[in-house]
Structures are given as structure tokens and as C-alpha cells.
């Protein structure tokens, strides 16, 4: 078996987030601003709900269905952006995007840096970026 290659993708920290996601289904449906993103190629679905007050993320949650990478990435993202200002959230989103496209990590991304290994599995990059794309869409709407 050559499953050890998978360790680059499914690191312990990623699997911990995937199994016990943070901010998962924690807000009621009518709270805050919500956006639903769907990946038509694989069926991954995320509903991201944000409460923004005075230019800051006050509360947030995600709901949806997808693989371990998707769940871990969404969970890490919600941890990162909670209580951040919109400017900080935008900067983090750019940093995450730079990491996934160019491989530049940034300490500000914290545990989300563990997702850099996904770059070795090009067909799975969308799993890691879907939640961030949902976030970008919400910020544009805001």
C-alpha cells in the first residue's frame, strides 16, 4: 500500500478539524448574511453565514456537505476570521489564495498553513478554496 503519500494531504491537524469542525451549523438560518456556494463538478456545498457589525465579524457559521479537506478548510477559515475586521479578513483571504496558487505561506494563516499540501493534489485544490470563495462573495455583497 502506498497510502503514506496521503499523509501530505490528510495531516493530523486537518483530520482533527474535519472530524470536529468549528462553527459548524451553529447559527440559526435567519441570522446574519448568508451565501451558498456549490461546486458543480463534485457536489460540494457550503452555506456560510456571517454577522458583521461595525466593520467586524461578530459571529459566523458554516453548513454544508463535502470531503475532509473542504470541512477542515472551512473550519480553519471560520476560526481565523472570527472577530477580525473586514480589512483583516480580506488580507487573510488574499494570503490563503497566494498560498494555494503560489505556495507562499504566511504565519497569519495559522493552522490553515497545513493545507499547503493540497497543492500536490491539483484535483483537490477546489475543496480547500470553496469556503474562501464563499467568504469573498459575502464580502463583495457587504
Amino acid at each position: 500500500m502506498t497510502l503514506h503519500n496521503l499523509d501530505q494531504l490528510y495531516r493530523q491537524v486537518i483530520m482533527t478539524y474535519a472530524k470536529h469542525p468549528h462553527h459548524f451549523q451553529s447559527l440559526s438560518a435567519d441570522t446574519g448574511q448568508a451565501v451558498t456556494k456549490y461546486n458543480p463538478t463534485c457536489g460540494d456545498l457550503i452555506k456560510l453565514t456571517l454577522v458583521i457589525e461595525n466593520g467586524r465579524v461578530q459571529d459566523l457559521s458554516f453548513d454544508g456537505d463535502g470531503c475532509a479537506i473542504f470541512k477542515a478548510s472551512a473550519s480553519m477559515m471560520t476560526d481565523l476570521i472570527n472577530h477580525k475586521s473586514i480589512e483583516e479578513v480580506q488580507r487573510l483571504s488574499q494570503q490563503f489564495s497566494a498560498m494555494m496558487t503560489d505556495g507562499q505561506t504566511s504565519a497569519a494563516l495559522g493552522d490553515a498553513c497545513s493545507l499547503i499540501g493540497v497543492r500536490k493534489f491539483p484535483t483537490r485544490i477546489k475543496c480547500a478554496t470553496l469556503s474562501w470563495h464563499a467568504l469573498d462573495e459575502l464580502l463583495i455583497q457587504n
Binding site: M1, L3, L6, Y10, Q12, A18, C42, C67, F70, F121
Partner: protein
């Protein structure tokens, strides 16, 4: 008792050069033939040979080379006619694939024949390509789209089907074989019921034509669509079979070169069947490659292919079903089904399963398989799908099963 390897067509594997490839350092085990089939060397050589020795446009030139290309292209049409036992060669239209074939029927036939209040009957088994064209037609004409329910094993509920057939039913659009669960629908039975109420039957044969003997006259199908690439031919070529009387009354879908007779300043007259549907330079190499694929399949025999696949499917269902925590969707016995097997493993997401199998060189499909209504009907968002063809072996199934067991340990036991 036969040996396990005789379940497969092991000796034909040498005909498929791609099977020597390595994927992630492992020998390729290709289990996604429902998406597209691998191509035998004879098909590749035939396409190459055409471009190298006979390349010219068809139905154009007075010169020798054009005639040679035309003979090959029209020869392929005759091969398709024999393959599906069409009564007449003019009933075979070349298209880009199943999707285009069905779209031609829904736009050309559907828009001409449907009106508000009419009904189109489909089922929950349909691939999006045999669903979305009918949704749009229903929206455009005011017709109603109705769904045949499935029974507990995931087969068409024939009682429900009969109940929903009525004089308002104008089109019955059904898949011959499900691309998700592999179930074979009793098309001949259904067409006889549908014809009693005056409906025409459109059959999506994309998953059937590569795996079963298909006789459009015995099925009494009004339209039958399939793709070349799923039966070992090139991509971008497909077939729409239609009964001559129906094809003759419907207008062309596209207009331009090749399909015309006389072109005046304000109007033109069109070619007879089948050419009046084939506007522009057709996919000549694709048709020739499809002809070569049909020749290859017929040299083995479709009944033989179906029988071997049924044996391997039964073996795979038994071995997969024995994995604890693995749930198979659809029938779990090998009867009246092809080698398309869809399942989920424990609580591991299908994408994670597919990525892990890929590391073992095992290529499977994960996702919704272009059948979102069926996924919702089954109560899942995604599944893993394994699909077999004549080059697969019991040894490959054994590797798949061993890998799935290891993957379960990796995800479930290592990360708790």
C-alpha cells in the same frame, strides 16, 4: 468451477496499450469506463491511418481521395446500423454524442409536437443529459414533466410507470441502463405500454450500447442515443437512431453546408436523410474510429461481453458487499444490471476515497455522476462509482477491495 481469472477477458488486455501505464507509481487499474472507455490499439490505428492515408472532406470532391474518405465515413454508418440492427441505414445520424442526440430530439421533435398540457415522462434514474433538455422543453411548451418512482432495489417502479402513462403522455424519455446503479430497464416492455397511449419513446443508450446487445427494432425504440467514446471509440462522435417515419417529419436542427441540395438567395432545399441533419463537415475520423470500435466489439460478441461482465459484476458485488461499513446503492445482485457499482465507505467522503484509491493507481469516479435528482432520491450527496468493462479482471477487484479496507483503516482508525 471456473477459475477467478476466467471471469475476465484477460486475453484482451493486450489490445489496450494504456493499461501498461503507471499511475502514481502503481499499475493503472481503470474502473471508470462508464465515464469513458479505453481504446483498443486497432481503433487508434484506424484513426491514424485515416489521417495519414485517406484524409479528405466527405461528400465534396470528385477526386479519388474524397471518395475514399466518404466510403469510410458511410461505411461506419453501415457498421452502426448493423450494430444496433436498425432497419435502414438512413435512420443512423452521426452526432457529437448522447447529449447532442437527445438535444436534437427535444428541440426538433419536441418543440414541433408538444403543447401546453402534454406530459413528458422521465425517471429518477436519468443522467442530466436525459433530463435537462426535457425540463427546458417543458418550460418552453408548457408541458408537464413527470417522474417515474423507483422501487426499494433502485429499479423502475413499473406499476407507477403504467399509472403515469396516459393519453397526454407525448414523450417517454428513459435511460436503458443507469449510469449510477447499473440497472437495466425493460425498454421493450415499456415501449409497448407507451405506444398504447401514443407516446414516443426516447432511449438514452449511453451506458447500454457499450455493454449489451442492442436491437432497436426489438426494443421498438422511437429514438435511441449513444456515444462513441463509451464504447471504445473516439470522443466527439455519437449516434442518434430514429425511426425513419419520425426523422422524415422533423426539421433539421442546424443549417449550413453538406445538408443542402439547392441554395437560392432566399431559400434552400435540403438533402434527404440522414445528411440533412449533418450540417457542416462532420467528425469524419470520429465516425471511422467508432466503426473500428464496433468491429472490435463485434469480433468478441456483445452477448459474450455482457456475460463476462455479469460474472465479474457478481464477483465485485460480493467482494465489495463483504467490506464492513460499505454500502452499495441499487441492486446488490448481478441480475439485470451492468458493471456500474456505486457505494459509500463508512463515513469517509467519496472524494477522499477516490483520492486515496488514486494513490494506488485505481481510477474511480466520485461525486454526483451527473444525476443530482437520483442522488437526492437516494438520500446522498455523493458516492464512489466503480464501472467495469471487458478489460477488467477479478485480480483488479481484489486490489480494489484490499485498498478500500486499507483506506478505511487510514481514515477511520488513524484519525480518531
Amino acid at each position: 468451477m471456473q477459475s477467478r481469472e476466467s471471469y475476465s477477458m484477460k486475453e484482451c488486455r493486450a489490445d489496450f496499450p494504456i493499461l501498461n501505464e503507471k499511475i502514481n507509481g502503481q499499475p493503472l487499474i481503470y474502473l471508470d469506463s462508464a465515464a469513458t472507455a479505453q481504446k483498443p490499439a486497432k481503433v487508434l490505428a484506424k484513426v491514424q491511418d485515416y489521417y495519414q492515408h485517406q484524409n479528405a472532406n466527405v461528400h465534396r470532391g470528385v477526386y479519388t481521395l474524397s471518395q475514399a474518405a466518404t466510403d469510410l465515413y458511410e461505411g461506419a454508418r453501415n457498421q452502426v446500423q448493423a450494430f444496433i440492427n436498425a432497419a435502414d441505414w438512413t435512420e443512423v445520424l452521426f452526432t457529437r454524442g448522447t447529449t447532442e442526440s437527445i438535444n436534437w430530439v427535444s428541440t426538433a421533435y419536441g418543440q414541433q409536437h408538444l403543447q401546453a398540457g402534454d406530459e413528458i415522462l422521465v425517471s429518477y434514474l436519468e443522467h442530466h443529459s436525459n433530463l435537462v433538455p426535457w425540463q427546458v422543453l417543458a418550460q418552453q411548451t408548457g408541458a408537464k414533466l413527470r417522474y417515474v418512482e423507483l422501487d426499494e432495489a433502485g429499479r423502475l417502479d413499473l406499476v407507477d410507470l403504467r399509472h403515469k402513462l396516459n393519453p397526454s403522455t407525448k414523450i417517454v424519455a428513459l435511460t436503458h441502463v443507469s449510469n449510477v446503479t447499473g440497472v437495466i430497464n425493460p425498454i421493450a416492455q415499456i415501449t409497448s405500454w407507451a405506444h398504447q397511449v401514443g407516446a414516443v419513446v426516447v432511449v438514452d443508450g449511453a451506458q447500454a450500447a457499450p455493454h449489451l446487445p442492442v436491437d432497436v427494432q426489438a426494443l421498438d425504440a422511437d429514438f435511441y442515443a449513444f456515444s462513441g467514446h463509451k464504447l471504445m471509440g473516439p470522443t466527439g462522435i455519437g449516434v442518434l437512431y430514429g425511426k425513419k417515419a419520425l426523422l422524415e417529419e422533423i426539421p433539421p436542427v442546424q443549417y449550413g453546408g453538406e445538408m443542402i441540395e439547392y441554395v437560392g438567395l432566399d431559400e434552400a432545399t435540403f438533402q434527404p436523410l440522414p445528411w440533412r441533419f449533418e450540417a457542416g463537415t462532420p467528425n469524419i475520423a470520429g465516425a471511422i474510429g467508432l466503426g473500428a470500435a464496433i468491429e472490435y466489439l463485434r469480433s468478441i460478441g456483445m452477448a459474450q461481453i455482457a456475460a463476462n461482465e455479469a460474472q465479474l459484476t457478481t464477483y465485485a458485488l460480493k467482494k465489495l458487499g463483504a467490506i464492513e461499513g460499505l454500502q452499495i446503492y441499487g441492486p446488490t445482485n448481478g441480475q439485470n444490471r451492468t458493471g456500474v457499482i456505486t457505494f459509500n465507505l463508512a463515513d469517509i467522503h467519496p472524494h477522499d476515497v477516490a483520492t486515496a484509491l488514486d494513490q494506488e493507481g485505481i481510477e474511480v469516479r466520485a461525486g454526483h455522476h451527473c444525476a443530482q435528482p437520483l442522488m437526492r432520491y437516494l438520500g446522498v450527496t455523493a458516492t464512489v462509482r466503480v464501472s467495469l468493462y471487458l478489460y477488467n479482471t477479478a485480480a483488479e477487484i481484489d486490489r480494489l477491495v484490499a485498498s478500500l479496507v486499507a483506506i478505511k483503516e487510514y481514515f477511520v482508525d488513524d484519525f480518531t
